[in-house]
Symmetry: C2
Subunit: 360 residues, 2 copies
């Protein structure tokens, strides 16, 4: 029996490396002779850099991964490391959060001579539509009195004029790729403010005011950069950072697909009887193309069966059509905080259970 273990991270409890290890331990306890290969994956969010370094090699310097590949060199930057939820430096007030630190990471990559920059956009919690990011790169943003605005959502609410004269000239010769699976647009009912704003801390009572400021900021930028990108897919990703990157002519690619390709998933899966994947919680978004769905899709194309072992699975019926086998590692009625702190042994025993089922 040849099994490829290729989980996403179990967000909030296990990295994908830890999840793969727990799954392996569980399966090996039942099938000591199984031929198991582990391939921890990521979807462009937190942990993407570690997974890519493990797959492609390279060196991390000041939170930027530098990889030498076929005749070129690229830098990978993980947004979650700069504007992620779990950072000590993160402002509790969403209006004071901004993306300047991500812009400074891009500057460091430029200083290092890199002209191919890939930015993993998942897991970020700012909603400044890249205002701070652009300011860090030399863009001057002023309020109606001609004073520079702050590099955060408060600043975006005041933005009135943009001056591009001091923009870093090196950007014109840079290729930027954005790893991201969010396809929402900057504005509108399913945009960065109305859809994602509340979970990032914008009070319902202020949504309409922020949306108006966002629309104004969008038009201001389009005019200054001489492009029209607000209505492109992905501009609403990462609190509108997708929009700022669109202004710089960045290309949007699927984070999950990029990571799977970099890890050589396609090549390894050919030789397998089963692929085991999983994530903290599988839900309706999984159906709409989260990493486990992409894993199942490619495995099935090559005639390989796929099992999903996640902390929670809901709706089970709909997901059942996508996987050949589904296990839930958190027992019914188990309190969430306990499931999180016991994620490792729970996942290990669920994996052992799955292996028993397959063995019969």
């Amino acid at each position: 029996m040849r099994i490829l273990i290729a989980p996403d991270a179990f967000k909030g409890s296990l990295t994908s490396f830890e999840a793969a290890a727990a799954m392996t331990a569980g399966i090996q306890s039942v099938m000591p002779d199984a031929n198991i290969i582990t391939m921890p994956l990521a979807d462009g969010g937190e942990g993407t850099m570690d997974v890519l370094q493990s797959a492609c090699g390279g060196r991390i310097c000041d939170d930027v991964l530098y990889v030498d590949d076929y005749g070129g060199r690229f830098a990978l930057i993980e947004s979650a490391r700069f504007i992620g939820l779990n950072l000590a430096s993160m402002q509790p007030d969403v209006f004071k959060r901004g993306s300047a630190s991500l812009g400074r990471a891009v500057l460091r990559a430029l200083d290092a001579g890199v002209r191919d920059i890939r930015i993993a956009l998942g897991g970020s919690v700012s909603v400044d539509a890249g205002l701070g990011f652009l300011i860090a790169l030399g863009c001057q943003v002023k309020d109606s009195r001609g004073m520079p605005v702050s590099s955060d959502l408060n600043g975006l609410m005041q933005a009135f004029r943009i001056d591009m004269n001091e923009m870093d000239q090196r950007l014109s010769s840079v290729r930027i790729m954005v790893l991201c699976d969010v396809r929402n647009r900057l504005c509108g009912g399913r945009g960065a403010v109305y859809l994602y704003g509340p979970q990032k801390g914008i009070q319902d009572s202020r949504l309409s005011e922020v949306e108006t400021a966002m629309q104004h900021w969008g038009l201001l930028c389009e005019h200054a950069f001489g492009v029209s990108v607000m209505n492109e897919v992905g501009t609403g990703a990462a609190g509108g950072l997708g929009f700022a990157l669109g202004l710089l002519d960045a290309q949007l690619v699927s984070g999950a697909e990029y990571v799977m390709a970099a890890c050589g998933f396609d090549q390894k899966v050919l030789h397998m009887d089963w692929v085991v994947t999983g994530e903290g919680r599988s839900d309706v978004q999984t159906l709409h193309g989260k990493l486990p769905a992409k894993v199942a899709d490619i495995a099935h194309r090559h005639g390989v069966k796929t099992a999903l072992i996640s902390g929670g699975v809901e709706p089970l019926d709909a997901l059942d059509g996508m996987f050949d086998s589904i296990c839930v590692s958190c027992p019914p009625g188990f309190p969430v905080y306990q499931a999180v702190s016991n994620a490792q042994p729970l996942l290990q025993s669920a994996s052992a259970l799955w292996a028993k089922m397959i063995k019969c």
Copy 2:
């Protein structure tokens, strides 16, 4: 500039290795500093075994490729080597052609202890719906007088009874995978007889008679094997061999996708500025998912541009939407036989021309 050269074979003139070499020579003459990686591909037809051996290693023994992979071993069999158009042993009369030699190749793989068999189905010219193949594996097929029928299309026209007692028992523990991009069904207007029969030599006047025999054979087999597969996609591939393999519970996967995965296309393309692909002739079937279309699809998913350099391209307009750049290597009005015998220099100069265009 990082360029991945990943052509299919130019059928009738160049193998994919030769095509990749000609493309490389042309591009290098214009861009001596370009970083070029070649990845000759195949679509499951003629040449697939050479490409896979080059990608996966392994040893060819009696026309069967044996590959040791992660904890297992598989055999790859290329139908075109046994029932292909360009074989000296090929019967000119389509009614005397059969697939027994392919069955004997499977027996050799079983004798070698292999229980994972992958069959590349493209490029075969028999239309016996696997009758010869099944007979070679121990199936006894008799006519209405109880006499064994011949292992060819003539035999299929006489088939009246099937006896499974002598079938090779080892088949029950074998996993068979079929590499094939044909999705037509065994019978009907777009089946193995009406759609593919004429190009394989069945006269129009005999099509209806052969179709009737094919339907009878299909029902006879389904009854004997106790399965119902005639209406599954791919059963009409390779003159109905897809059907016989379906009886053995084989899994159908895309030949082009399998080869691309085995070569690690997904992983290498990530690091490229351009992918150059091509084939002898790009036409409406290319639009419907032949190898160059799959190359462009995956490259675009990762934000990489794709050029098509083929011997002929028609309809140009429709294909233009699929590729970022298209070149035709055969000059307009050039006689086909001359284009074939000069394929190598023509492709090389078309590739040089393309490189000049890109450089500007």
